[in-house]
C-alpha cells in the first residue's frame, strides 16, 4: 500500500501538533508554553479541516486562538513573577505522571488499533452549516442545549466577573 497525498499531509500535521503539544507541557517559560499552545490549537484546526468539518475548524481558530489564548495570556500577565524560570516547573510526581500518561496512551492506542472501524464514506456535506443552524432551533432536536448554552455562558460570565473583579 503506497502512501497518498492526504496521508502525507495528515502525518505532517499530526507530528507538528504533537510536537507543539509536548512543548506546551515541557516549556520552562510560561509565555512560550502559551504560544506553543496556540500552534497546537492551529494544528488541531487543520485536522478538523481535513475531516471536512470546515465550520468546526474555523470555530477552533476563532474561539481557541482568538479568544481563549488571549484570556490565558492576560491571566498569565496578571499573575506575574510568581514563578521565575529558574524554579522547577514540575512537581515531585512528574516521573509518576509520565508513567501514567504513557501507560494511558499505550492502552488507548492498543485498544484503538485492535478495533475494526468503519471506513470513510464519501458524502456531500454541502449546506451542513445551514443544517446545523436549523438543528439548533428545531424544537424536537437541539433547542434545549442551545438555550442552556446561553444560560451557561451567563453563569460563567457573572461568576467569573464576580470572582476576578477587584471590588470586594
Amino acid at each position: 500500500m503506497s502512501i497518498t497525498l492526504p496521508q502525507i499531509i495528515f502525518l505532517v500535521v499530526a507530528i507538528g501538533t504533537l510536537f507543539t503539544g509536548v512543548m506546551v507541557v515541557v516549556a520552562r517559560n510560561l509565555v512560550h508554553a502559551a504560544l506553543w499552545l496556540i500552534l497546537s490549537f492551529f494544528g488541531v484546526a487543520v485536522v478538523f479541516a481535513m475531516l471536512e468539518a470546515g465550520f468546526i475548524a474555523v470555530v477552533q481558530v476563532t474561539l481557541y486562538i482568538g479568544a481563549i489564548a488571549i484570556l490565558i495570556i492576560f491571566a498569565m500577565m496578571l499573575t506575574r513573577k510568581v514563578m521565575n524560570d529558574t524554579e522547577p516547573q514540575t512537581n515531585s510526581q512528574w516521573v509518576l505522571s509520565l508513567v501514567v500518561a504513557a501507560a494511558a496512551f499505550i492502552g488507548l492506542a492498543g485498544l484503538l488499533n485492535a478495533t475494526a472501524w468503519s471506513p470513510l464514506q464519501a458524502v456531500s456535506l454541502e449546506g451542513s452549516v445551514a443544517q446545523l443552524g436549523r438543528a439548533l432551533v428545531e424544537p424536537n432536536q437541539y433547542v434545549l442545549p442551545f438555550e442552556v448554552a446561553s444560560v451557561l455562558l451567563i453563569i460563567a460570565l457573572i461568576g467569573a466577573v464576580a470572582i476576578a473583579s477587584e471590588k470586594n
Partner: protein
C-alpha cells in the same frame, strides 16, 4: 471544497514567507554595528528601571472575559443566521431569546459597574 482549504493552507504558508523576504534582504544590505548601548531597552532616553513585566489591572482580564462570552455566542448565532431564511417565526424568536439572555448578563455587569474603566 477540499481544494479551497488547500488554497487557504498554501496561502497561509506563502503569507508567512513573503513578508520575510524584505527582512532577509535588509539583513544582507543593512549595516551591523551593534554596541551595548544601542541594544539596550529604549525608553525615550531614560535608563530602564526594573523589568518590563509591570503589574496590570484585572480590568483587562474582565474585558477579555466578556469578549470570550460574546465570541462563543457568535459561534451559535452564525449557523442560526445562515438558516434564518427558511425558519418559521418562533424559531427566529428562539435565537432572539438566546441573545436576550446574554443582554441580561451584560446589563447585570453594567449595573454592577464592571464595565467602568477606572
Amino acid at each position: 471544497m477540499q481544494t479551497d482549504w488547500l488554497f487557504i493552507g498554501i496561502f497561509l504558508a506563502i503569507g508567512l514567507v513573503f513578508p520575510a523576504v524584505p527582512i532577509v534582504l535588509a539583513y544582507f544590505i543593512s549595516p551591523h554595528k551593534s554596541n551595548p548601548l544601542k541594544n539596550d531597552t529604549y525608553e525615550c532616553g531614560i535608563e530602564t528601571v526594573g523589568e518590563a513585566w509591570v503589574q496590570f489591572k484585572a480590568q483587562y482580564y474582565i474585558f477579555a472575559l466578556v469578549f470570550v462570552v460574546f465570541d462563543v455566542e457568535s459561534v451559535f448565532l452564525f449557523p442560526w443566521a445562515v438558516a434564518y431564511k427558511a425558519m418559521p417565526f418562533f424559531m427566529v424568536f428562539e435565537g432572539i431569546l438566546f441573545i436576550l439572555l446574554l443582554v441580561g448578563a451584560l446589563v447585570y455587569i453594567w449595573r454592577k459597574g464592571v464595565l467602568e474603566w477606572a
